[in-house]
Symmetry: C2
Subunit: 236 residues, 2 copies
């Protein structure tokens, strides 16, 4: 069996949020080439596309690809169902909120794995975070380890003797405040990022993503350039 | 944390080929409801859609969903690139042919997992086969075990105390001849199935899929209703 060509560089899953923006900033310092992959899986709004485009341009990635997966009719989630109300913050400690999208990161990583193997890229970077997060199971270390194992045994690259595509989650064990501090040092343009789950032109300030973001900036002693543009109630 | 409602029934990944047709036939005898999911990932032709529709109707599945994923531009494979020639049979023993689609079954199972969890279905059935097959790594037992583990740790269902969605591959260790015999007993309408990788109206008889199919029928002592319609050379 012939050995495949070695892999190099990375593909970053770029949603346009704070975490993936910080991921791109980190990746451009540690690997080359850096590709960015924005995958729309049927979430309610496409505000993230604008952010991801602006971030990909700002960090000069070698290639930015946007993929639209028409999965909304299949998925049971408040993020993809037009009729479902978004929860204001988390309902109960320890519970998984209705914004959970079934198998979301499995789908994102699966497409990124296909992309990485097709483009001979060594790593998939994902901004998963298991500290200040919404409690989604597919953001936790056991999930990422299980996916790495899958990439080893389920790809031509992995079974052909070379190293398999690696999954890298550089923010996994950082608090949101630590991510803000890290991003500040790297010059992440927070004004270009987008976190809010709602589809408006301004962050709602009430959803789980807005609250986590606000707490991160507050605890880091930093200022969110989007916070001033918020309409309605402030995040608590 | 509240326990989710129990799961029941299955979703079958239905490509329209012999193996997935046999899978649907088996599933309709063992679980209820049975849903079918046909995922087009950018393969060259959509002949499979016709077959999968006809098979879903014949077996009376509760719901058949066809999803088109616009992944062809991302994937490096002879099956998804219009310009690439399909190999006639396998190039070398043990090698993975150019019809390999990077992370294909990872993507198919990821979407099926999202579907199963959204519809509260207990099992994903996949016609993966690791005996008379093309050597793709994502058809082998270690891959399927790794995906089952991923489903346990990466879904709300899996981490919430209930049983996780299970991956079932009933044909995994059967020869193609054994699949033909099993299908014959179950009344699988082979005339409705489609195996050929080429996009024509008749099976080419030369590609890997056509050869495996022909050998299966020959060794089972059965007759392929599509074989008579073949134009050009017979499969060896």
């Amino acid at each position: 069996m012939s050995r495949p060509r070695p892999l190099r560089g990375s593909v970053v899953l770029l949603s346009g949020g704070m975490d993936s923006a910080t991921c791109v900033a980190l990746a451009t310092r540690s690997s080359r080439p850096v590709h960015a992959l924005t995958i729309l899986y049927g979430q309610r709004h496409a505000r993230e596309v604008r952010s991801s485009r602006a971030l990909a341009a700002r960090f000069g990635v070698a290639r930015h690809t946007i993929v639209r997966l028409p999965l909304a009719p299949l998925l049971d989630s408040a993020l993809t169902r037009p009729g479902r109300r978004l929860p204001a913050g988390r309902s109960r400690s320890g519970s998984i909120p209705s914004t959970y999208v079934p198998a979301r990161n499995t789908i994102l990583l699966a497409v990124a794995l296909a992309y990485a193997e097709s483009h001979r890229l060594a790593e998939i970077h994902i901004g998963a975070n298991a500290v200040d997060y919404s409690g989604y199971p597919d953001c936790r270390p056991p999930f990422l380890r299980a996916f790495s194992r899958l990439a080893r045994v389920g790809t031509k690259q992995g079974v052909s003797g070379g190293p398999a595509v690696r999954v890298v989650a550089p923010l996994l064990r950082l608090s949101k405040a630590a991510i803000v501090r890290r991003g500040d040092r790297l010059g992440v343009p927070w004004a270009l990022t987008w976190s809010c789950y709602a589809g408006g032109n301004r962050p709602c300030g009430r959803c789980d993503a807005c609250r986590l973001r606000a707490r991160g900036f507050r605890e880091a002693g930093s200022t969110d350039p989007l916070a001033g543009r918020r309409s309605g109630r402030a995040a608590s």
